[in-house]
Amino acid sequence: MIPPAFTYRRASSADEAIALAAEYGDDAKYLAGGHSLLPLMKLRFAAPSVLIDLGRLPELSYIRDERTYVAIGALTRHHDVQHSPVLAAQIPLLAHTAGRVGDPQIRHRGTIGGSVAHGDAASDLPAALLALDATFVARGPSGTRSVQAAGFFKGIFETDLEPGELLTEIQVPKPAVPAAWSFQKFTKRAIDWAIVGVAVQGHAIALINMGTTPLRATAAEAALASGASIADAAALAAEGTSAGSDIHATKAFREHLARVLVKRALEEAGARS
């Protein structure tokens, strides 16, 4: 399988990438690690006529401790997030989750910004960043703006990014109790996308693959906040979700998994902290 024909352009700076996107308009897509986009192109689910390669922009690959938050360049690879000493100490949920994406080869290529901008509800990192209340920084022709994770994911593969905007940085606030985390991922094979997954930080609970976007389990969070037990809160994990049925699982099985995994995650996060 090969992708449909396209024109390849390599950006040598973030500004050049944004200028190229403005030049080509809707026909162009940014290419980061390519591990979501190229498979979609092979299947003809996407057929951009221009790819703007961001792969040579070291200016957007970094992990910086900014005292109250950690700033991560959008082109930082999963491998580098996984092995970051700063994240291991300050935000272990994120380092661990990056290490659960795909497999080692995929983590050598895939980037955190690419995963976020792709906006797949079945991806691991968007849910972890939602549980961590991250902020996404986007740069476009008219300037730079910040978007909270809670308002960023709009629908199936749809985010708040405007056409031509480039996600440049992810800002993750340091959790009050870094150790109070858990990541649960139910798969049939090691490298599969989660059939259902859960990221927990403190009392924040985010769900993977329980709707068209990553979701917060708001009913379970509210129950915890009002003093409910873990078991009682976890029983509400599927409230307000809209899981689908497919060859991997029915909607009812996904809802069951959400309740079971949220319970496990809250117990593990509690035991760690």
Binding site: I2, P4, G34, D53, H79, P104, Q105, I106, H108, A190
Partner: protein, 155 residues
């Protein structure tokens, strides 16, 4: 577009379609056919090669993305004198293959794994091979080969 890759230490320049995948460049342009095409969907790992020393699945990298970079395939592991790489030797000694189709990808994945973690536990080897599928061996002898290469049993 014109791309220039260093493959197994040799510079190769070619004019290719922009959409050319690295695995096709290696097989059809560089004429190095050890790298197998398996699933073509980033799942099976048969096409694993090293890009600047790290394992990648060459069916999901464009030749254009590898332009100016260094690629190592299975053919590039043995010494100039023809002596096998320790991981290749370990596969031979531990009977780490049956049909052989996954083997080039397995070997490259293990070479990359051992560069990052020269003394892995069995669990770390198994996790490190999550991206490589074998349908013959049940993985046991592949894992043994990785561990024996790491311990220098077959130097």
């Amino acid at each position: 577009m014109k791309v220039e890759l260093t493959v197994n230490g040799k510079d190769i320049t070619a004019d290719v379609e922009d959409r050319t995948l690295l695995v096709h460049f290696l097989r059809d342009v560089a004429d190095l056919t050890a790298t197998n095409i398996g699933c073509e969907t980033t799942s099976c790992g048969a096409c694993t090669v090293l890009l600047d020393g790290e394992s990648v699945k060459s069916c999901t990298v464009l030749a254009a993305q590898a332009d100016g970079r260094s690629v190592t395939t299975l053919e590039g592991l043995a010494s100039d004198a023809g002596e096998m790489h320790p991981v290749q030797k370990a596969f031979h000694e531990e009977h780490g293959l049956q049909c052989g189709y996954c083997t080039p990808g397995m070997v490259m994945a293990i070479v990359s794994l051992l560069r990052e973690n020269p003394s892995p536990t069995e669990e770390q080897v198994r996790a490190g091979l999550e991206g490589n599928i074998c349908r013959c061996t049940g993985y046991h002898n592949i894992v043994k080969a990785a561990l024996s290469a790491a311990s220098g049993v077959n130097p």
